[in-house]
């Protein structure tokens, strides 16, 4: 018997094909769109109702988020308590989620309980009344939560960064506890009626979505809304980037400093986006990235450091974030600068680049864990106005982009001197 060779890695295969499940789509008479991903498997289903956010009003900065969060707080037929009882009794989960571009309601339920839980969602999406007493509770509790969050350096750094990049817009919002006081029930009602309309609604069904499921959703929401008046205004004010590029918030006695450094960037619709994702992965997008290797694994300055890209309807951004020992904050920033500069001056060695290619493809394959993940991929495309060709382009770029092209991208987009730099803690 030959001795086992433990030094040489086993043979491996590249990821060749990534098959994405495409949805069946249908449109209700009232304009509401439905996309269905049917997988079979466990007898459960996830249904999302997704609405584009209505236009941001700087004087009422918390309106969108308050309306979304309070959707489960009462309708003219059901109190908040009754809504909760009903959903919990059937072992379902009803979530509301607010993000920069969208507000949504998500129902997770066993398919056998859909008939009982679906009417609750219909009720909250068409007939929420935002009771005064619930609004008081919301304001009180959110104020307290925000007070706690404001003590966390990474939370403050993220807010300051967004405020600097985007100004008084939906993306740059940095509410203070007292802003919650300005919420008025009438404003919530108006916003709700204006935004939660069938023409502004996309329903995404994923799971064991047999034809009966689609029929039930269709029947429930076809006649759910009354006469549609004016379409929802989902345009947004222009971004207002700050002229200040260095923002330091000192926290006496801080043991660590939160660092957030970055710049506005193209979003997913731009042809350079997939290439920038490769570059981002090399720099700080995985455990073995350059930032982790240098600042955590070599210097031990931090528990974690990474870079990322966000893609929104109106804009995108690129950022590097970490919490580092207060005494090594300056050193960490200068190492970050070194790593960014290196991408512009030196070609990424093929050995490293091929690793990143394989990692990214494996990671894409691994992110498709179940039918809900396929629906999530679709949302990335659909809300950016892209089609499935995007993932074809993405995988081709990951497989084929050259070190020269990546260096050119770094020079085109990454100018460290122009980056916004936010430090919260000690510097």
């Amino acid at each position: 018997m030959t001795k086992l060779d433990r030094q040489t890695p086993p043979q491996f295969n590249g990821v060749e094909n990534i098959n994405l499940i495409h949805p069946e789509s249908s449109v209700l008479k009232n304009g509401c769109k439905i996309f269905t991903f049917n997988s079979g498997g466990q007898d459960l289903v996830r249904i999302e109702w997704i609405f584009q956010n209505s236009r941001f009003e700087p004087k009422k900065p918390l309106l969108n988020v308050a309306v979304n969060t309070m959707l489960t707080d009462g309708t003219s037929k059901l109190t908040a308590a009754q809504i909760a009882d009903k959903i919990d009794f059937y072992g379902a989960f009803l979530q509301v989620d607010y993000s920069y571009d969208h507000s949504q309601v998500t129902l997770f339920t066993l398919t056998k309980h859909l008939q009982a839980t679906l009417p609750v969602v219909k009720d909250i999406l068409t007939d929420s009344i935002f009771p005064e007493k619930e609004l008081e509770t919301f304001v009180r509790n959110q104020q307290q939560k925000l007070q706690v969050s404001l003590q966390k350096n990474d939370f403050v750094a993220r807010r300051e960064f967004n405020k600097a990049l985007y100004g008084e817009t939906i993306y740059g919002l940095a509410a203070q506890p007292e802003d919650f006081q300005s919420l008025k029930r009438e404003d919530l009602l108006t916003n709700f009626k204006q935004m939660y309309q069938p023409g502004n609604c996309n329903i995404i069904i994923a799971g064991k979505a047999d034809p009966q499921i689609l029929e039930a959703v269709t029947a429930t929401f076809e006649g759910a809304w009354g006469e549609v008046t004016t379409p929802a205004d989902t345009t947004q004010p222009d971004l207002q980037p700050s002229a200040q590029r260095f923002i330091y918030i000192e926290k006496a006695g801080a043991l660590q400093s939160a660092i957030r450094i970055g710049t506005p960037l193209i979003n997913r619709t731009h042809p350079d986006f997939p290439g920038m994702q490769v570059l981002n992965t090399v720099l700080g997008g995985y455990f073995g990235s350059r930032l982790m290797a240098n600042i955590r694994e070599d210097k031990g300055y931090t528990y974690g450091i990474g870079s990322g890209m966000s893609s929104f309807k109106q804009t995108g951004s690129f950022f590097i974030a970490s919490e580092v020992g207060a005494d090594v904050c300056k050193a960490a920033v200068s190492e970050i600068e070194k790593e960014v500069t290196l991408l512009k001056t030196d070609l990424i060695p093929e050995e490293e680049l091929s690793l990143v290619r394989n990692f990214m493809l494996g990671s894409l394959l691994g992110s498709l864990e179940n039918v809900m993940s396929h629906a999530d991929k679709f949302k990335n495309l659909y809300f950016a106005g892209l089609d499935y060709d995007y993932y074809e382009r993405y995988t081709q770029t990951v497989k084929n982009i050259t070190a020269e092209e990546l260096k050119a991208l770094a020079n085109k987009y990454l100018n460290f001197d122009n980056f916004y730099k936010v430090i919260v803690g000690k510097y």
Binding site: R6, K145, Y248, I249, L255
Partner: protein, 425 residues
């Protein structure tokens, strides 16, 4: 229903295979039967520090992460007071790379001084980030030693103090490895797009030659039943007051676990739960309030926690929490309410089967508790709980002399954020 096959290698390594052909991926999960409870009281935080060192290169492979990323894989690990768990997900066609990497670090580590030095720093930064530099971050450092006087659960996984991590020596690392990291103390689960026969062959090939090592016999001091009311008040740089009341409860393997977990759901799961309904909504005394259990293998903790609203005194807040648990002691939980928490538990178990990694981790943990197959009988255990059992256990747990109360008082006004803000160019 999660189906699986099971076999044991001659060196004692237990292997479980879960075939799931709905995915092109595979998972390799290894649970080592060692946690912070197995540490020396003078060297706490060691199991977790050691977990970091497991990524610092093994005897034949200098770099752990690189070769895995090169084949499209990802990995991570966690340490708790009871166990240390490592996992890899990767395209199933490249599963052998996971066997190669995991078997080499079970065989032996590289024990590099540089890796120890760096990971000491990384863990110290983790200590600061998660426990010291966050409001209320140090709660477990304070609460554990109140609830536990004898059992090693009295320290948190991260360790009692940063000093213990600073003092870690390479000889300690070697001794810890020898004692705990061998096939007899491990359970491996392979799941996803795999075939049991292939896994048998690969397991024999890569793990078969590893020496069995010595079996670690756990002999920990068990926590004596508590018979005195414990209380501590700290004034801290936190924005709001916060009240924690922790009770001792039986360990995870006790039959009472199912009734007690449902009891915590009745108090605190979802917006229809009792604490939220009565203390946040109807009679607003708290901005948030929770009840949960730790699920520890030895004596566990049942914790009530709430942040009182401004103007609500600590006494009022505590009294309100006690009133709610008193109800559980004297009144039967109505049938509908009991059905509700059972339904929720049942659907959560179904949802957890959507995730391959969750399934693999669960199989490993249930095997550690005695039998991976019990995972498929959890629903039945919960469904069998009666209102009478809940009342019984409420009476056993919610007693003053079984309580440890920790109160955070917010320090008087500090300078506001605006005053400390400087903007430079």
């Amino acid at each position: 229903m999660v189906k699986f096959n099971r076999f044991t290698l001659d060196n004692g390594l237990r292997v479980i295979v879960h075939e799931d052909n709905t995915t092109p991926m595979a998972v390799l999960n290894i649970l080592y039967d060692v946690g912070a409870r197995d540490e020396d009281p003078g060297q706490t935080g060691f199991a977790h520090l050691f977990e970091h060192l497991m990524f610092g290169g093994s005897v034949n492979i200098p770099n752990y992460d690189g070769p895995l990323q090169r084949v499209g894989g990802e990995n991570n690990a966690f340490t708790s007071n009871d166990i240390t768990n490592y996992y890899i997900t990767l395209p199933s066609a490249n599963l052998e790379t996971a066997f190669w990497l995991e078997s080499d670090r079970m065989l032996s580590l590289a024990f590099s001084e540089k890796s120890l030095e760096v990971q000491r720093n990384v863990v110290i930064e983790e200590f600061k980030q998660r426990y010291l530099n966050q409001p209320y971050g140090d709660v477990w450092l304070k609460l554990r030693p109140m609830v536990y006087k004898k059992h090693p659960y009295r320290w948190a996984t991260i360790g009692k103090t940063i000093k213990h991590i600073e003092d870690a020596k390479i000889e300690d690392v070697k001794a810890f490895f020898k004692k705990h990291y061998n096939p007899q103390n491990a359970i491996m689960v392979v799941g996803g797009d795999v075939k049991t026969d292939d896994i048998k062959a690969m397991a024999e090939k890569w793990f078969g030659p590893i020496p069995a090592g010595d079996k670690y016999i756990r002999n920990l001091p068990q926590e004596p039943a508590q018979n005195d009311e414990r209380r501590e008040t700290v004034t801290a740089k936190v924005p709001l007051n916060d009240v924690y009341i922790a009770f001792q409860m039986e360990g995870r393997l006790d039959d009472s676990y199912y009734a007690v977990e449902l009891m915590s759901d009745i108090l605190s799961r979802g917006n229809s739960s009792r604490l939220y309904r009565s203390l946040v909504k109807d009679k607003p005394l708290f901005s948030e309030v929770h009840a949960y259990i730790t699920g520890s293998l030895d004596t566990g903790m049942f914790v009530l926690e709430g942040k009182p609203l401004e103007g609500v005194s600590i006494e009022q807040a505590e009294q309100a929490l006690w009133q709610e648990v008193e109800k559980l002691k004297t009144e039967d939980v109505p049938a509908d309410e009991l059905t509700k928490v059972k339904n929720k538990t049942e659907s959560t178990l179904v949802f957890s089967e959507m995730s391959l990694l969750d399934k693999a981790m669960n199989l490993a943990f249930y095997e550690l508790m005695g039998n991976a197959g019990n995972f498929n009988h959890e629903s039945e255990r919960f469904l069998a709980v009666t209102a009478q059992q809940i009342k019984e256990h409420a009476n056993l747990i919610f007693r003053k002399e079984n309580s440890s109360t920790l109160v955070y008082l917010a320090q008087a006004v500090e300078a506001s954020e605006a005053e400390l803000t400087e903007i430079e160019n």
